[in-house]
Amino acid sequence: MASTAVGQSVTRVDAVAKVTGQAKYTGDFIFRDMLVGKVLRSPYAHAIVKNIDASQARALPGVEGILTYKDVPRNKFPTAGHPYSLDPAHGDKADCTILTEKARFVGDAVAAVIARDELTAAEALKLIKVEYEVLEPLLTPEAAMREGAPLIHEDCPGNILSASGYDIGDIEGAFKEADYIFEDELETSIVQHCQLENHISCAYVDSDGRIVIITSTQIPHIIRRIVGQALGIPWGRIRVIKPCVGGGFGSKQDACLEPLVAAMTLAVGGRPVKLELSREECMIATRTRHAFKFKIKTGVSRDGRLIGMHIKAIANTGAYASHGHSIAMAGGSKFRILYPMQALKYEPCTVYTNLPVAGAMRGYGSPQITFAVESHLDNIASKLHIDPIEFRLKNLVKEGYVDPLNGNAVRSCGIRECIARGKELIKWDEKKARYKNQAGSRRRGLGMACFSYGSGTYPVGLEIGGARIVLNQDGSVQLQVGATEIGQGSDTVFAQMVAEVLGIPVDMVHVISTQDTDISPFDTGAYASRQTYITGMAVARAAAEVKEKILDFAWGMTDIPAHALDIKGANIVYKHSGEVVMPLAEVALHTYYDTVFAKPITSDTSNNARVNAFVFGVTFAEVEVDLKTGRIDVLEIYNVHDSGRIINHQLAAAQVHGGVGMGIGYALSEQLLFDEKTGRPLNNNLLDYKLPTIMDIPAIGVDFVETFEPTSPFGCKALGEPPIIPVAPAIRNAVFDATGVALDRLPMNPQRVFEKFKEAGLI
């Protein structure tokens, strides 16, 4: 298929608006009489609120309202951005209240102030006196699971949120059959999204008495439902508007602020209230990435085939469930397609602790388990004296494989080509030979890691996408989707898809970027790398419908049957010859104003995609390790992805750049730290939390192996989250190659690496 729009690196549809500052973000909505909300946060990791005396704060001029748990609805609600489950047994854990009477982490929302401005609100917070009964803080899963440990949530014995897993085949039999058994323990850390735009929402009550919430979210339609649940009011009484969003990475796939800001406006008679978190608040009081501890045991045959694997995982979900055990389950199901084995047993356990709430974050459990499994595989390859790439090639999945548990099939698979391309790019063989006998304190090494991932959540989650198109008088169109642009570029690829189907230039597709639950089609939002693939199906359908209507109308105008017509370059043409029949604009004008046949053309579709497409890829990394300090420098890094057909190479490459950068931070320097006794955060700011700077990131090589995924009308698959997934293990494996030291913990910061080198007797 020769493409005019899909596959082209067209400029982002929002590029100009964003660089000129015209794009409106939540903070740009300023209303008359707007008040400011602020949150009083617990200084204790675990404490019961005995008494709150807000009388002094209330008396402060300019204070319009003070809220405690007594003043807001006490409905328990779930915050995770998942589609509502009709089956209550499968719903997310409802363990949150708008304000709490029991603080479960340092930063938990205990009370709130609504005041005429920031300064007054900040002053008022200081005047609220809270009496706490301090409880033992449980800061590690081990402490929380200890017998007799206090309960963080009274209804959750052992502080274990869930421990369901899965079993494929007979693991004990597989271990018996294996020639070798290998075991490893690996661990990841708590990190934070650090998206550019902090969490922010504002809300007011409109003239119909409905609550309007403007919010920086990935999931407006889901937010409507959650606010309804939290306030205990019909969902239709809530309207959620999502303007431009400055990034989320999963932290906004969650209802962090909206129930509270809704309660705030209700408390002040419906006046507009803005609630904006500082970076320091954002880093502890929204969401983090779950830290995991893994124990892996693997049976391998003499010739290097994986026979069976048993993974035990403990995930630290912090103070509230949020996405909770879904993270452990999703990670555990998406990685397994990569190396089909006769037996695989997965035993995850998600545990509450008195730390900030872990939720969705780019990769949703996959970066964690991929770090563990891909590191483990290199350890095995080394013990078997097999090249790590050879080892993987012996075990990789092939097209046609069907996941035994969820029934998803591998219909396109370019992982072998990805590996071959990555090997070439980094000059694997040449450098491997060159680095064979290194002396001195600076050693170089090469490493790689693979991943598999899904495109959306089917069959675990509902995968519904909606699109609506209106044909204008001049042949251009408006496109409305329920899917959310949060910086990743989805609006642009949808415009390309419409342009492609309708045979018009991309600049004739006007994407309405704002989602408004009153107006926008239903879609669950930006997560699970789903939109290009899932929403793309709805967009394709809506565009095809419009095209059909246009050609039918043209038939009426020209007597040329629709099946003989096509649209190219914004003209109606003969399908067989391409000869122009008339401009599309002429047809469009007639659809509006033909006194007999006028019927403006629109389409409004929803697509329930009951499919999933596996994506694959690799990171290849070259590092230099300073044995004397433990410092790791990434010299070269390449990501090669099979995400099916690439709709926009420039946007896709940008996505990979961001993901690799994030992966380097995850690998080497990022970690939220807490005081080991009190659970107080030590580095919830961007100076002390070591997000890599541009100086820490080498040039990032990006390449794509473009397979064609048959379940997508455009052959595309997911790309949003995946680039981060294999980065940390590839770097880790490169360090292993350079030094022979098997690092087992993230981040691999100098001190930790140095200590490992010492332990290994390297220095």
Binding site: L673, L682, M695, P750
Partner: protein
């Protein structure tokens, strides 16, 4: 919060403005002070800006001395060919501060008066034996930078009454050089886990003078005299360097910090950084690479 923001036109004018506004304090780049004000660690009534005083920005050589204005920015120090040639440790330290934005406005005197033990240019200035010229109501006094510390975050310079107008570094002449190194978790916007600066002089193959400053291993930039003394009178070889490094390690008392690294790690790193810095300084001083068996 300050109610006035005043610009001084000369050091004398600065003192006059400070005297005329009780509770005033002088401000240079503001990269430390503004944060202190915002977090209410300091209360001031007025700020006296000294960045428009030309003589505070000079970087020059005169009479065998290098003179640096108190308000010379890190960027100007790092990019000055004079400093890069004559005081490479200071150029490297200035280049390591924060980020381009911070270096463009942050100044040497600010770095010293803020009195953090591991402030990069302060560590280099102490190693270089820089002397500060401080102008106050009673006139001028000259104090080695190493002696300006009262404790962590506490300087003996009172920026509400006096001003550092310049730093002076005596050139040692033939056979001298210096070097600086730091260990940090990322390459920009990162306070050091450890930083080390050293200045050495070699005459006829023998080390005649040495100064080594290490931080943060004490409440102030730590001038490790034992380590320096172990070098003097000896030929700069891998062995003498290693010995000085291990003497430095014994003397250093880094603290445990979850953010900046454990005391044990930083003690171990003292050996590495001191050895690397001495190696670089001696190699430069003698124009000959010192073979180090392990590097």
């Amino acid at each position: 919060m300050p109610e006035k923001y005043l610009f001084a036109t000369s050091p004398a004018d600065c003192l006059a403005l400070l005297a005329a506004n009780p509770g005033a304090r002088l401000i240079a780049g503001g990269t430390d002070l503004v944060i202190d004000l915002k977090e209410k660690r300091r209360q001031v009534t007025a700020l006296v800006d000294i960045t428009r005083i030309p003589e505070l920005k000079i970087i020059t050589e005169a009479n065998g001395k290098i003179i640096l204005g108190g308000a010379a920015t890190h960027t100007r120090v790092a990019t000055s060919s004079l400093i890069r040639e004559k005081l490479p440790a200071l150029a490297a330290a200035a280049a390591a501060v924060g980020s381009p934005q911070v270096r463009n406005v942050g100044t040497l005197a600010g770095n010293v008066v803020n009195a953090q033990p591991a402030a990069d240019t302060a560590v280099a200035l102490v190693a270089l034996g820089a002397v500060a010229t401080i102008l106050g109501a009673e006139g001028e006094r000259q104090v080695p930078v190493a002696d300006l510390y009262a404790g962590v975050g506490r300087s003996l310079v009172d920026a509400g009454r006096e001003i550092i107008t310049r730093f002076t570094v005596d050139l040692w002449g033939e056979g001298e050089s210096s070097a600086f190194a730091r260990l940090s978790p990322r390459r920009a916007l990162s306070l050091p886990m450890l930083n080390v600066a050293a200045r050495v002089q070699v005459r006829e193959g023998i080390c005649t003078r040495a100064r080594i400053c290490i931080a943060p291993v004490a409440p102030r930039p730590f001038l490790c005299e034992e380590a320096a003394a172990s070098l003097v009178g000896r030929e700069p070889t891998a062995e003498t360097i290693a010995r000085a490094a291990s003497v430095a390690k014994e003397a250093a008392r880094p603290r445990d910090s979850l953010l900046r690294g454990s005391g044990a790690y930083r003690k171990d790193m003292t050996v590495v950084l001191v050895a690397r810095v001495l190696n670089e300084a001696f190699s430069r001083a003698t124009s000959r690479k010192i073979e180090n068996d392990v590097e």
